[in-house]
Symmetry: C2
Amino acid sequence: MVPTLTWTPEGVRFIDQTKLPLEESYVLATTYDQVADAITTMVVRGAPAIGVSAAYGVVLGALKTKAATAQEFAPEFERICARLAATRPTAVNLFWAIDRMKRLFAKLAGSGVPLVEIQQKLLAEANTIYDQDIASCRAMGAFGADLMPDEGGVLTHCNAGALASCGYGMALGVIRSAVERGKHLHVFVDETRPFLQGSRLTAWELMADSIPTTVICDNMAASLMRKGRIQGVVVGADRIAANGDTANKIGTYNVAILAREHGIPFYVAAPWSTIDLATATGDAIPIEERPAREVTHYAGKQVTPDGVGISNPAFDVTPARYITAIITERGVMRAPYTESLKEMELVS
Amino acid sequence: MVPTLTWTPEGVRFIDQTKLPLEESYVLATTYDQVADAITTMVVRGAPAIGVSAAYGVVLGALKTKAATAQEFAPEFERICARLAATRPTAVNLFWAIDRMKRLFAKLAGSGVPLVEIQQKLLAEANTIYDQDIASCRAMGAFGADLMPDEGGVLTHCNAGALASCGYGMALGVIRSAVERGKHLHVFVDETRPFLQGSRLTAWELMADSIPTTVICDNMAASLMRKGRIQGVVVGADRIAANGDTANKIGTYNVAILAREHGIPFYVAAPWSTIDLATATGDAIPIEERPAREVTHYAGKQVTPDGVGISNPAFDVTPARYITAIITERGVMRAPYTESLKEMELVS
């Protein structure tokens, strides 16, 4: 199991995803501020993983407070949550996890529970979110495996794997589960510019599991599809609106269009915490713009002329009509998503 | 004018396109073998530019021979042409230029012209190909400018610019010509992995001409199209089959699909020498597979895990049905291309 993030008595230990695959090093965040920095700088990334990280960030903030009572701590708690929520805007799992911690705190503080006990309950809650994340990935994998071809090529974009979660992964969980059932899949991995989550992280994970893997540049997918090398696409998600529109890593929308053009099914695998029924459509999902340097520099070396304009949106929105099915731990949903998401919300 | 390649008394002087944009350095090829190496290693690249380079390579081979007569030189001439033709398989301009030199040599040698005179006539022929290339780009630009929007965003992929030709450029010639006519274009440049011809070369050219430029990763185009930021796409070509199917830099087919999906016109600009009426459809165009290292490494630094599979086709084929128009120095052609190409062949 890839140790994406681990709670320790000293703080949260992250595998440094900016250094993979050549260097397997770890970063220990001992304050909530350091957790926030780890999220912003993408030491840890992936919607479910940053949600769990933020929950542990809240725990660290609570454990390190100098306040003596819950009441005294309350305004500081708000600041901690606000700092963690301000790290990245698109993945809704971040806000979902922070809200869960907030609700627990409000309930306990309102019931007069002593601060020391609240601290322990917040840690237990973060641990539960962590455990549930792994369980969700396993369930998604089981549901999604049925949808994978018995043999053939499957394309994935970015990293919706163990490194984007607490283990097993979403899109890669589906692939892992299909392979465990004896399906013969060859995974084509979009390198995923500019941060190269595909060539650096997804390829590393899949090779560790001995799953046949070929890395391609993002612009090679259509050519492979036309040659009949790809039988399915499976990706993760950062936020799914009530109508099924899905925000995911920049380039996902490109892949979805190409898949439909070639008659290839396009699947999204994400935990229920990625679904944001409060957001009506993809147009309302905020899209993070990342620093230009991610595009202008490659492995520390400048590749563009000085001063050229750069666009670096970290995500795009794939309209629901391109999505063959959405795979969650509760089951598989199909269009019309406004109905299927609402129905599935009642299941739990 | 960008000095892509220049004939000098010592040989062919190339701007080293592997070093741009940060370093403007030059390579002097004094033998046909060095010209062949410059083509293979992409010191010079772009379909028209490698055609002209090969013609000058033939000249260098002819000038340096120890043969005393055309008859004695003939088998060596064949070897020179074969070496230059073996550099890269996809761009037909390479074979077109070599064939043109071959036909001239056969005619002169068959007429008993002395070798020293043949050498001078081969050089004159290469110079003519060079001059015609620039004139073609200017003519393409004039025809294509009409097709550009009066204002708005235009996307281009790879570099079909002055650096891919002897000057002015094909796709970038169309853009330059439109801007010279007062059209207000903002050019979005796909960085074009893995060799980054877009972010390194096209951005450098456009900035030198003060044309507003934004570099994007290849996977960002669909998102910009959806936001209404792109009003047209113009790209170059490495080979156009008799039915209009067009081989061009890998990723062109992706862009063509995305453009059609968003109702955006998709134009190909290429000199007539890129059109290969002897090849019926795109399926018959050979596609070069480039070294894996172009994907696994950048600036000497490895970015993928050891031993991962890599696919690195240098080109893809865009079926004719995605192409709004093909712009050549003879005029603009539209579907059905089998007819329009045949008709235009009679024009000259």
